[in-house]
């Protein structure tokens, strides 16, 4: 049975659109954000790994973005292209379907995670395979495809190095771009020694040696695989062209060597025309890894005789996306290109880590996307997992106003609970989450004084004000606050992290996963 989104003011009199069903997929955590975060806060190794990683990528991103004098024009072009595409989604999806079909591909539609998994399982079986190689993909993590394949007796091999580390470690990804960022080299070596049958017992913990071990481990798999599963970063409606952005070449292996390629893609990944890729191929790598361009971008259109897989299947996934689309204030979350820039600037993510968000989509984008995909009642604490400092909005390559959507979702949450008279109240949840910022009085005062908070609160004054503001006033009423300096929280954060200079050793992290990773990318 499909979980249904609570009635929302924008859907007056209309049946609510179905959200992602419970029981399948990785959009819901086992515990609330504050509880999960409290535990990860005590993990000093995690915080050190994360702090270093986010600082490094932040610095690289800032440097390569500064190289482009037209960055703001690109962001605006990206934003407008996405807004336009969402308004014409049915037309573009049908156009994509026609183009892919005309070029020898087969298009499948999936209402939700369960249906998508069933389609993929059937396709793998029909291809006569009992294993698949996988390119890192946020969409397939979202629907828990690996688990569904395993339940059907099909082994799924993650081929992105970080995903391999996560998979062999029986672990969960914690970052969109660098999913194993919570692991250090010693831990990775341990995992490889324990889980790779063919590994050299003398394996050192040098990154080059570990990467070489992964190369050997996967080489035969690549060269013999019959079926691959990927995500997609972009799909061109007009031509049916799909694009995957990556670094290691594992993506290229999966996209070109097997006989059958199955691509699972959220219905929001479209761009109207091939030329539009000129915008996103500039925005994505620079925002994501802080590189001018990721090492490899692959594009294919249907089936090309003699080059690459001769059977191509495209699975178009809803899984709550249409519910997001039905919210005028929240739907911009669908414009996300999974670059992960917002994670790397987020003070809350940097301390809490990706696992605390309980969803495959962590950080600021996760805080707005997951609750919308699942229905707010299933991820009620996530919209509070933010200080509303606005840094995520500033770095977002498609200008998603994450702070405003967070505030909107908090209001929706308050309304939902008010309507249902349920406990715990929104205020209690807000209080717990706000403890993040409030633990440091200066930080909180600055956050409140920043013009941004006033701006986002002002958007729906009277409704939203109920949540954060009483919390603040109650809190400040019982505490002495030092007089805040004439500096916004953003400025404070920037100054505090001024050490985030780019590292000198050239381009940085791994490419965004397919669809983030579609990830990635």
């Amino acid at each position: 049975m499909t979980a249904v989104r609570p009635s929302s003011p924008v859907l007056l009199g209309m049946p609510a659109l179905p959200t992602s069903p419970r029981g399948t997929g990785h959009l819901r955590g086992d515990e609330s954000f504050p509880d999960a975060a409290r535990r990860s806060l005590t993990d000093t190794q995690l915080r050190r790994n994360l702090g270093k990683a986010t600082r490094t990528i932040r610095g690289k991103r800032a440097a390569v973005v500064a190289e482009l004098p037209d960055w703001e024009a690109l962001r605006e072009a990206g934003r407008q292209l996405k807004v336009h595409t969402m308004a014409h989604l049915p037309d573009y999806l049908v156009q994509l379907e026609e183009a892919v079909t005309a070029r020898g591909g087969v298009v499948h539609w999936a209402r939700d995670a369960e249906e998508a998994n069933r389609i993929v399982v059937d396709l793998v079986r029909a291809a006569g395979a009992d294993e698949v190689v996988k390119v890192k993909s946020m969409a397939t993590q979202e629907i828990a495809l690996n688990e569904a394949l395993e339940a059907a007796g099909i082994a799924a091999f993650e081929t992105d190095l970080a995903e391999l580390i996560v998979q062999l470690g029986h672990d969960k990804p914690s970052h969109i771009l660098v999913p194993a960022i919570h692991r250090n080299r010693a831990e990775i070596r341990e995992i490889f020694l324990r889980e790779m049958a063919d590994v050299d017992p003398e394996l050192s913990d040098e990154p080059a040696a570990l990467a070489a071990a992964a190369r050997r481990h996967l080489r035969r798999k690549f060269l013999s695989a019959k079926v691959a599963v990927s995500g997609a970063n972009f799909a061109v409606a007009e031509t049916g062209t799909l694009a995957v952005v990556e670094s290691e070449g594992n993506g290229r292996m999966c996209l070109t060597l097997p006989e059958t390629l199955i691509t699972v893609m959220g219905i929001e990944k479209l761009v109207p025309r091939a030329q539009d890729l000129e915008v996103f191929l500039q925005l994505l790598p620079r925002s994501s890894t802080g590189e001018r361009m990721n090492p490899y971008t692959s594009m294919w259109t249907g089936v090309t005789p003699g080059d690459g897989p001769q059977a191509f299947h495209l699975v178009l996934l809803d899984n709550g996306r249409t519910a997001v689309l039905s919210d005028a204030q929240g739907r911009d979350a669908l414009n996300c290109i999974r670059c992960s820039a917002c994670l790397n600037v987020c003070p809350v993510y940097e301390r809490a880590g990706g696992h605390a968000y309980g969803s495959v989509y962590p950080g600021p984008i996760g805080a707005i996307l997951s609750p919308q995909l699942t229905g707010i009642e299933d991820n009620a604490s996530l919209p509070y997992a933010s200080s509303l400092c606005g840094a995520c909005y500033d770095v977002c390559p498609v200008k998603i106003d994450i702070p405003s959507i967070l505030v909107h979702l908090r209001a929706e949450h308050t309304e939902t609970y008010a309507a249902e008279h349920r406990v715990p109240s929104a205020e209690a949840t807000a209080m717990a989450a706000a403890a993040w910022v409030m633990r440091n009085p200066t930080r909180w005062t600055l956050a409140l004084r920043s013009g941004r908070l006033g701006r986002v609160l002002g958007r729906r004054r009277g409704v939203i004000g109920e949540v954060p503001l009483p919390v603040a006033s109650q809190w400040t009423a019982t505490r002495d606050l030092s007089r805040p300096p004439q500096q916004t929280f953003r400025d404070w954060w920037a100054a505090e992290h001024a050490s985030a200079a780019p590292e000198p050793d050239g381009p940085g992290a791994d490419g965004p996963g397919a669809d983030g990773s579609e990830g990635a990318p």
Binding site: A73, S247, L277, S326
Partner: protein, 217 residues
């Protein structure tokens, strides 16, 4: 209702519930750069600079010197078994030493090299369709001399020739010069990962070494 009909109906219901702003395609903002003030020489300088920044090896030569430079690069790399895509300009490989075995990847499926043959090769030689100066990116689209996508992927060393007319300033110029419905691969430096403590390691699954010969003229 089929899943297709249902998903499309849901989107229409979402649009009805919250009518989206309409920005006609023709009016979308495109104020970003699509032209460059750099002359050809400056573009080549930038391309070389960016290639080196990505840890690619770079050689520059005139058209006349190309066969010698290619042969020298292969010799210095110790390449004995070289994959050569269909449609490669024979003159470019005229300087090859006698002990280099040419593995020709033929034009039709019957003449394609097997995956095992590709895996056993030391390197691959290819042309490209376009090179992007601003990002140090080589674009291969599978046309003559560029090969099927796997040929530039499996051998551990990739030697790619860039001709003067193929250098463009930036991504928009490249995208506009290409037909993206061809099987297209954009390559920026060798295969790389930064998944282990963000240390960059060159060469995971793709070629560990990318060498580029930039022809000037």
């Amino acid at each position: 209702m089929s899943a297709r009909e249902e998903v499309l109906a849901r989107i229409r219901a979402a649009h009805a519930a919250a009518p989206p702003p309409d920005l006609p395609y023709a009016t979308l903002a495109r104020d970003y750069r699509t032209t460059s003030e750099l002359d050809h020489e400056a573009l080549v300088e930038r391309l070389v600079d960016r290639l080196l920044d990505y840890k690619a090896l770079v050689r520059r030569c005139s058209a006349d010197e190309l066969p010698d430079v290619v042969a020298t690069a292969l010799r210095e790399r110790g390449v004995r078994r070289l994959v050569v895509p269909a449609g490669t300009e024979p003159r470019w490989l005229a300087g090859l030493a006698d002990d280099v075995e040419v593995l020709a990847d033929g034009p039709g499926p019957e003449q394609h090299l097997s995956v095992a043959a590709l895996d056993g090769a030391d390197g691959v030689f290819s042309a490209c369709a376009v090179a992007v100066a601003e990002t140090g990116t080589l674009v291969l689209d599978g046309s003559a001399g560029q090969g099927r996508r796997v040929t530039s992927l499996i051998p551990d060393y990739h030697l790619c020739v860039v001709l003067p007319g193929q250098v463009v300033a930036d991504v928009p110029q490249a995208v506009r010069a290409l037909d993206l419905t061809r099987p297209t691969t954009m390559i920026s430096g060798p295969s790389a990962t930064s998944d282990i403590e963000l240390n960059r390691v060159e060469g995971v699954h793709g070629p560990r070494t990318l060498e580029v010969v930039v022809v000037e003229g």
